[in-house]
Symmetry: C2
Subunit: 600 residues, 2 copies
Amino acid sequence: MRTYKAPVRDMRFVLNEMLKVEEIYRSHGFEEADADTINMILEEGSKFASEVLTPLSKVGDQHGCTLHEDGSVTTPPGFKEAYQQYVENGWGSMCAEPKFGGQGLPDSLGQVLNEMIFSADISWGMYPGLSHGAMNALMVHGTEEQQHTYLSKLVEGSWTGTMCLTESHCGSDLGLLRTRAEPHADGSYRITGEKIFISSGDHDMAENIVHLVLARLPDAPKGTKGISLFIVPKFLPDEQGGVGERNGVRAAGLEEKMGIKANATCVMVFEDAVGYMVGEPNQGLRCMFTMMNAARLGTGIQGLGVGEASYQGALAYAKERLQMRSLSGPKHPDKPADPIIVHPDVRRMLLTQKSIAEGCRALAYYTATVVDTARHAKDQAERDHADKLLHFLTPICKAFMTESGYESVNLGMQIYGGHGFIKEWGMEQLVRDARITLIYEGTTGIQSLDLLGRKVLMTNGETLREFTKIIYHFCKENGEREDMKPFVEPLAALIKEWGELTTKIGMAAMQDREEVGAASVDYLMYSGYACLAYFWAWMAQVALDQLAAGSGDEDFYRAKVFTARFYYRKILPRTRGLAATMLAGAPAVMDLEEEHFSFL
Amino acid sequence: MRTYKAPVRDMRFVLNEMLKVEEIYRSHGFEEADADTINMILEEGSKFASEVLTPLSKVGDQHGCTLHEDGSVTTPPGFKEAYQQYVENGWGSMCAEPKFGGQGLPDSLGQVLNEMIFSADISWGMYPGLSHGAMNALMVHGTEEQQHTYLSKLVEGSWTGTMCLTESHCGSDLGLLRTRAEPHADGSYRITGEKIFISSGDHDMAENIVHLVLARLPDAPKGTKGISLFIVPKFLPDEQGGVGERNGVRAAGLEEKMGIKANATCVMVFEDAVGYMVGEPNQGLRCMFTMMNAARLGTGIQGLGVGEASYQGALAYAKERLQMRSLSGPKHPDKPADPIIVHPDVRRMLLTQKSIAEGCRALAYYTATVVDTARHAKDQAERDHADKLLHFLTPICKAFMTESGYESVNLGMQIYGGHGFIKEWGMEQLVRDARITLIYEGTTGIQSLDLLGRKVLMTNGETLREFTKIIYHFCKENGEREDMKPFVEPLAALIKEWGELTTKIGMAAMQDREEVGAASVDYLMYSGYACLAYFWAWMAQVALDQLAAGSGDEDFYRAKVFTARFYYRKILPRTRGLAATMLAGAPAVMDLEEEHFSFL
């Protein structure tokens, strides 16, 4: 059975020593988010994730969910009780604004908690996770009455939320959606249609479910400009705001999936269901994007979480499993063989996992504080700047952290050898669970088009420059330090190249728009490795400073510097291939007729 | 439901136009293996794989196997009948020597059939597949009586075989194994112990099962030098050679696995089971390697097979699924959206799959003909040369073809988006089934040590040079051709670099043996890409010649040249990163204390 302990020491390193979040929080007016509160969240969150959620993960995978004839869904044993505990401990309301009943803590602390939850079990984490998307949308776009009726319940945790976007014929292309919303005399709407792949679509963990549904008004323009957003509660609120009459929405099917089996992925059927419009008519996609940006960072953090969980499992096994002798002579002559952690290739796999987890943690927490800044900084210019950074970083977080998380869980399984392929150790479940993160909330391909096409090229590279400027300053500040040379020199070269590659693709794209899609995934992965190069250099600098200052915890800082070096030597060179392949040009993929892909 | 059709046109291209196998077969004395026979195998094999086996794949995944109280295992519905058909059609005996009842066709044709079978269903394919390992061992090391009693039954297909190596505490490190073999007065042995992860360990498809078991004699030296190989039949042969008394071996458990659920992966318990030694005492590992080398190529071909199957599924979907418009304007304005094959990133994924499948097919069939040559060439020097090549190519085939096959099935799933993650389309099953191929028959890490340590460095680079010499001649022959320049120039540079990298690692390894393990997987992957660069250049040359000669089938040859270019531009540059990371040095992975990998 898999175990998990939150990497609290490393989380503290990133939050306190690297990002210095206390200062950020103070400047944004989060008076409550002091050292004690952060500590409490780390300690208690860790306990909740490791003691309550982690043991549920295998149970959930084995049981899955059950759909009953009446369209209700039962979650695996223990899921409901864990959710009650989550609500009672106040985890769900932690980052919501006090005026809606929340505790008013910064979102970035919520993302730290998310990492722990997703390390424990993505399936479980998606029940409250989807609520947060719904909360975000209603906080920004809901009317006061909608906020009073629905948002307060979501914050309280007695109701949960969903996002109902996908239909069977439209996933990435929401412009094709068909679900109809007919206006009703009382100002409400009647929603009819079928949605698929609805995560947490129905369950028994909360008394009501608030579906946020994309649908078309009768007179709506075609395509994405004719989509509106509606609240469709499972039970209509009664006079007192409690659970009233059953609404015309039900789960009509549960998908059989590769992983995240304990999350109810539902086919949701809406039959004249009562709905209430959120925001303006035909502005539904805009409203939905409010949910989706947060959800994308959250999905990236799922990649981080499973990667960390897999690393912990693999490391424990590598220290225990005895196979063969070290190439440089027995390390444990008293034992029948050496533990496999003595073997350089096992170490390569472990350190790849480690450098991915710790590098992505820095990227994720950094980005999460940029979200705080974009929302709460007192200065408008600061908010705008953060917003630009966020546009740039969000698709990278979503796609790179899930792709590298998937690499990590596969390495974790590989370290177990044949034992990784059987269910007993939980390593194969991490692979199956992680696999969806590369797909939902926009595939890697979709994120890459968002990054390269919309965020970088459509702003003439401005968002990229905003970020590389920060790195440039870092390089300048640390350029004279001998101990930082192994990081600063390649990093400076990299950001120069990053800009040049962008310019080249941009020039090519002016001739042929297909150049964007032909380069985009390579560009995104390059960008991800470049981001991590910055964060690893930064972490190395913090650790080297601590070592120079003779702080305690020397082993920790040494390991950090070692891992930074590992990243630069063993991982970062992947950019060499990507720099070449992203310039291969559109004809390399476009100049083959559809019918000549195969001659069967 | 997934469908599959054998890529017969492409198989013919590799066999006939590129490798010219008819000439090879003729020179080795395979008179029967003429054009008609090859055609028949391709046509009938394709029918069997697509019509009989492919529909069983999902059934098998859903049903799995059932272990009964008496230790017998039932396979999924249809498995047994398909096996009967396989036997009746003579597929199982195709490549066995006529003196054992076989049809005496070259092994390489058996590998072509294997590709089809593994594309259809790896789980099913492993029942007859394991028999072939046992046949190989008995053909080389069995006594005449053993061949008469067991080999003939295996060839006939009425009995099947297994390989019983792994024990719970020893996978890669067979030196640790504990299963005991006590000599008995009549010259037989009594085998006692427990083996795990025994593929096809028990089933209802054949009347008897011949286990080939590694065990220790009472006086055996420790480690790998004290292991002997034994035949342990499930039922002892009776006087007439038929199925007699039940032997003391039974399945005591079935592993719950991530994939290949229809193959019975058994815990096998041996309790005083009657066994017969194969080969000399304490020479068991050598005998086992006879089975394992063939099995390693076969496992590589599993990677090829699943990759091809996934490509077919993804291509069909990409042509049908309508999502969004082409970046360069609508391609099908009559439809609500364009099929996703218009999008460059979808094409990148499809072409990656295509270039992997076709490139690995060339590598696999080439290597399979080298097996033929090593065994059957009339000239000793030719056999020896082929043997050297084989030593070099086998670990590359096993590890590179499974790693790239796994990449391919993941891309195939990604092309389906959310639909890839649900069971309906069969794409996620391919991912789950493919995952084990990177582990069993020696993990990628084990193969990489075999390649770099044993095969390359221990021969002072001789095996590498034997292979690069062939490439060097190819480059020389085609160096003047304008149309081959895009291939020959980078290929020539690559083989030069390949040698230089090898020398550098070899030099470093003389100082520190850990350098081998620190570089080995990067080296293996580099070698795989380099091999495929050669085969893609060769395929391009054949196709360009056909185009120049004005042969028919122009579209096919054009597509081949296009894919070769794609490989050189979009895949081969991955070697840039690998060339750097393999030289990162052992300290980059070794200089961190075990206890400092984590600070939880």
